[in-house]
Symmetry: C2
DNA sequence: CTTGACCTTACCATGATTGGAAGGATTACA
DNA sequence: TGTAATCCTTCCAATCATGGTAAGGTCAAG
């Protein structure tokens, strides 16, 4: 199979397949004489695994760990579970952060008339010089949960 | 005031102040003879406004709009409210997405013994070739809620 | 043998932020 | 006054996963 067919079969774009290969997440594959990458059904399987992991928000680094555990017949399930639960923790922290932002904003918006007049509690809160703490100050990396810069 | 003092007073790093200037979010400020940027209390106020907006997860683009509405005495509060509610929508969509991921993972983890044996429903689900849909496939940009690549 | 669909590599862009290097300015202190 | 420490300046690079584009080679069908 060529890369396009594997991409279609796995749900991972050809771009990303090459990228995953370049960073070592998947091994370098065989090539035809003319340089085309050649894949097997097994590769499709692996790429599906990777895509599903990404869909659950795992980072590439974590996915590398998951793939190697997957392929390790002697793995300990606790190692997998640890990765999963660690990620759950990250997700839940992020969820809380976003919820705080949303709730603050909804509260402010509820008190904003939303008409043609300039008075607006939202702007006032943002401009508030008093140190009333705004919630949700994000404190850690979390860049890659969305599927990259959509646009 | 120099940039360092403004940074400390506003909670926006000197790096980011220069960056905001470079992209036009804040105007180019005056310089001393030797090229140092010079700021006023008013600039601190503006930067605090910006920082608070960021803390609520607004993008730089939205912040630009908010700042200009803030400085517009004739603004319509509905314009502010629209930006806020639009952002709430984005936040809530993201929250739902993350919640689906977390809930799937928690469910799977709950059925994983987490011991030294290899059997693991988490890995099995990731490897599942049947098309049982995994939730939370993120579909849009959302990169910038966390505070950038930590580390 | 041409056309079109595919493949290749190599860059560039995204978004917000941090990091560092190399060098000039200012301040504090002996 | 000298000098060291601390600031400031600009420029470049990296993050993370992904998409885009361009320039060129390959392959299959007509």
């Amino acid at each position: 199979m060529n890369i396009g067919q594997v991409a279609a079969a796995s749900g991972v774009s050809a771009k990303m397949i090459r990228y995953y290969e370049s960073i070592g997440l998947i091994p370098k594959t065989a090539r035809t004489e003319s340089g085309y990458r050649v894949y097997s059904d097994h590769d499709v399987h692996t790429l599906r695994f990777i895509r599903r992991s990404r869909d659950l928000g795992f980072s590439v680094e974590q996915i590398a760990d998951l793939v190697s555990l997957w392929q390790d017949r002697d793995r300990a399930s606790k190692d997998v579970k640890a990765i999963a639960l660690d990620h759950v923790g990250v997700l839940e922290r992020k969820i809380r952060e976003l919820q705080e932002m949303a709730s603050t904003l909804k509260h402010l918006a509820a008190h904003c008339h939303g008409d043609a007049r300039p008075h607006c509690p939202i702007i006032e809160e943002l401009a508030n010089d008093g140190a009333a703490p705004l919630p949700g100050k994000p404190d850690a990396k979390f860049g890659a949960l969305g599927k990259g810069p959509g646009r």
